[in-house]
Symmetry: C2
Subunit: 197 residues, 2 copies
């Protein structure tokens, strides 16, 4: 018989993305076997993170400082604004170290199916930021999915009247990619956008 | 830039079984987006579980009561003792509702490779329990792996001198199993152990 306390813990863990009931059970047991080294530090870490981490009012990133450390950095290029769907995308781009502008996190994509409109995302805020700021180029770094591209086009329309150029990430063969493993769409796009060597 | 507080949280989450750095990041973001409904309850649930859940001194199950609710139940059959590798196995058998005896959790299997000997598991305790108790049948419910079966044989040897019968779970075609998808070993075993209809 699983005690209700353990049952409750497993239930909460199974609500995490990527964990089903079985893996939640495994995680719960692992935690209970490593109380001092993992379970208690995790409990404290969660409580503390929930307390100190806040959303940046400017770019919607998460950080312990407000505005976030990216927005608070005056050395970055204020003429460049990179639009991403989610914070994890911001982290991914920031990890490459090849972008020195600022970010704007939408918090998702437009989706007629899920009833997500521009007001549910930070699109009105983005338009205000571009209108009132020093931005010269808005780089769309949205996922290459139907919803992502719909959102990119919608945003491009919103920004059409403003004196900024709107660009998007290049599509093509990924670095390290093997031609015969690529999907038709990527290959066709790469071919169409070919460049002089 | 990921703040150190978030970095620290992701690092802890990535130490959970089944979570890599990428899924840990996803979990961390999901938690931060659902603070009130998930993150804080989980932090409290972890801290509370770490405090109240203890190992049963008799069967090595985990429960909020000591001895655990299985061992504390006098209605169960004291002549039957089911030996399992891990607590999750106990839970799995208990969920079937078809076993009314008591359990003994080994806490792993013997493994020459990992340097795990009988003293690292609760095997000496098992032998004492069988010698001093009312047990008539010891049911080996260990995984059908090399280590599991080695452990089962070792335990059977330890119990050979005691007046108990040692049995193991039947091997064969799983319920719902399709013959042509089964591995050779299972099929050969099922054929050898065939029974009259």
């Amino acid at each position: 018989m699983i005690g209700t306390e353990i049952e409750h813990l497993i239930k909460m863990l199974s609500r995490l993305p990527g964990l089903g009931p079985r893996s939640a059970r495994r995680v719960a047991l692992h935690l209970l076997k490593n109380r001092e080294s993992l379970m208690l530090p995790l409990a404290q870490g969660l409580a503390r993170a929930a307390e100190v981490i806040e959303e940046c009012p400017s770019c919607h990133n998460l950080d312990t400082v407000k505005p976030c450390s990216v927005c608070a950095n005056p050395a970055r290029d204020a003429t460049l604004l990179c639009v991403v769907e989610d914070i994890s995308d911001l982290w991914a781009i920031e990890k490459t170290g090849s972008f020195r502008g600022y970010y704007h996190v939408l918090g998702g994509t437009l989706s007629a199916l899920d009833g997500i409109g521009p007001e549910d995302l930070s699109i009105p805020h983005l338009v205000r930021r571009v209108r009132d700021g020093a931005v010269k180029e808005v780089i769309m770094a949205l996922n290459v999915t139907i919803d992502g591209q719909t959102t990119a086009h919608y945003i491009a329309d919103c920004l059409a009247a403003l004196p900024v150029s709107v660009t998007q990430l290049a599509h093509g063969v990924p670095i390290g990619g093997q031609i015969d493993y690529l999907d038709d769409g990527t290959l066709a796009t790469a071919l169409k956008s070919r460049k002089a060597v």
